[in-house]
Subunit: 303 residues, 2 copies
DNA sequence: TAAAAATACTCCATAGGTATTTTAT
DNA sequence: ATAAAATACCTATGGAGTATTTTTA
């Protein structure tokens, strides 16, 4: 009993004729006969009484007809659901982001993507890089944007943007108009650091040590729990700090803050679109990935 | 996209493995591979991601899986519904009967048939012979029991019982112990007739005329609207009458009434199980037909 | 006689198999 | 090295056709 035979059966019942059913299904009359015989052999009973002028289902045929109609309808529903799913970019997609991408990159990207596409819902999950990579590996997340590379062969990562850590000072600060300062000059100024455990702080520490300095020598004015808090601290002259240029993009544009290089200290961080090589992205995920890559190529992402 | 492939697909998703799915469906692993490829080609997208240790559906595969499960379940439901319908004698059957069978034969038959079969409902429709034959021809009724033959070639009729019209007198009547009386003796006694239009009356009239008599010459004591009324009339000494022996079966047994032959008047009526040659009976109708024929053969029908 | 389904037959697409290779852990 | 799926290739069933016969109104 397959769907094709059941479909032909419904046509026979509806049109009350083998030959008309054949026409409607683009089949010859003998082919219809043979399928009906197959069905009758399968159930071991007559399903259709062949009267001279019309074909009428038996009681058993009526019972089967009710199921056949439902089965054919459900098949059609499945087909259209699949083509809809594959054809249209729609539905819900969850994107993972580590702190910097989640706060400074993804909101803009998600906004631009969903605005042009009704019927699309994007959810953002903020977790640390390790967690996001685990979720991508497990298949819980279709994609993430993180600031570190994974050695796992199942993880595919595409560089989206390079972010430089800059020394950030408030407007009006003596260094505001300077291009760059030397590393030892940092130790004169009150400094704001992130709480220990932050990726930003760790990479800064490593670079200081590499250059023969130590964090303890900094004149630490405050320790802040978030990038946003550090920005507020600088604005309010609590101190200066090292920050991702992406994070202060807005403030640099408006002139509230200024960024400068530190001679001999080149801290760059790259952000990667992270997917599972072994998993096929949904059409929605595929479209978003394309959109993100396109934005990165056009440098339209943060300009 | 056929049910067989969808079934294999559900097995692959459930068992997370092509080879295990093959085992469970008694197929080789390459056959499963080929079916999955067929499905993927059909939808034009990947449905299953083949990881090293397990096979996991893609988003599109998850969508299809939901439909596939429903389709397979519905198919199974149809199969069991069909085998139930064909295997068990159950459900509802409507039987047509003309007056005599409907009142004096079918209640007993229906009672005996349904008592032994839980889950069976028999409905009785009382109509005149012509109407019942029309309904059988139209397929509205699967079977009827009527007292006349049809010339329609699409009608099959099987004789169940032969019923003789007898002269019925109350117990204690002078003729009660007599074997038979001559036709002319009828005209001495008060007589009860059925209303004009009754089949019983018509055939009686015809027979009288054939023998050179006329109904008008009878001493008509009363004209009754139903066979039951005639019986009551005889019991209460209103008069005597000619009745179907089946109709007075009970009263003859209990001795309240007596039946005797009329010399030279032989009115017999046969009752026929009537079906449509072109229609396949449902299992329930078939079982009832068999039961009725068996009862007729055993003469257990009215004894 | 006409119209519908059944039968007889032929052909080829494909579901199924086995043997083997590829791939990833 | 192992386990799983893919590939290659072969076979046979059966789905589809055309031509014809049977059936019944």
């Amino acid at each position: 009993m397959d769907l094709w035979q059941l479909y032909i059966f419904t046509k026979v019942v509806e049109l009350k004729s083998f030959s008309k059913a054949g026409e409607s299904a683009h089949l010859s009359q003998p082919t219809v006969s043979s399928h009906m015989k197959d069905l009758e052999d399968h159930f071991g009973c007559r399903l259709i009484d062949r009267l001279s002028k019309e074909a009428i289902p038996t009681k058993a045929g009526e019972l089967l007809f009710r199921y056949a109609r439902r089965l054919v309808a459900l098949r059609d529903e499945a087909e259209t659901a699949m083509t809809d799913f594959l054809g249209k970019v729609q539905g819900r997609l969850t994107i993972g982001g580590s702190t910097i991408p989640a706060v400074y990159m993804l909101p803009k990207l998600i906004g631009a993507f969903t605005n042009a596409r009704p019927g699309v819902t994007l959810a953002l999950v903020v977790k640390d890089t390790g967690q996001i990579i685990e979720d991508v590996l497990a298949g819980t997340l279709e994609l993430g944007i993180v600031g570190a590379l994974s050695s796992d062969k199942k993880i595919s990562q595409k560089k989206l943007i390079e972010d430089e850590m800059c020394l950030v000072v408030p407007a009006g600060h003596p260094w505001a108009s300077v291009e760059s300062v030397s590393l030892d000059m940092l130790f004169q100024e009150p400094f704001i650091v992130r709480e220990s455990g932050s990726g930003t702080l760790r990479s800064f520490e490593r670079h200081l040590i590499d250059n023969g300095f130590c964090v303890d020598e900094l004149r630490i004015a405050a320790e802040m729990g978030s990038t946003e808090a550090v920005i507020q601290g600088i604005k309010n002259h609590v101190g200066i700090s090292i920050l991702s240029s992406i994070a202060v993009e807005e403030e640099l544009k408006s002139g509230v803050l200024c960024a400068l290089h530190i001679d001999g200290l080149d801290i760059r961080q790259e952000f990667y679109l992270t997917t599972n090589t072994q998993r096929t992205p949904s059409p929605l995920a595929g479209a978003f990935i394309e959109f993100v890559e396109e934005s990165a190529r056009n440098r339209g992402m943060f300009e």
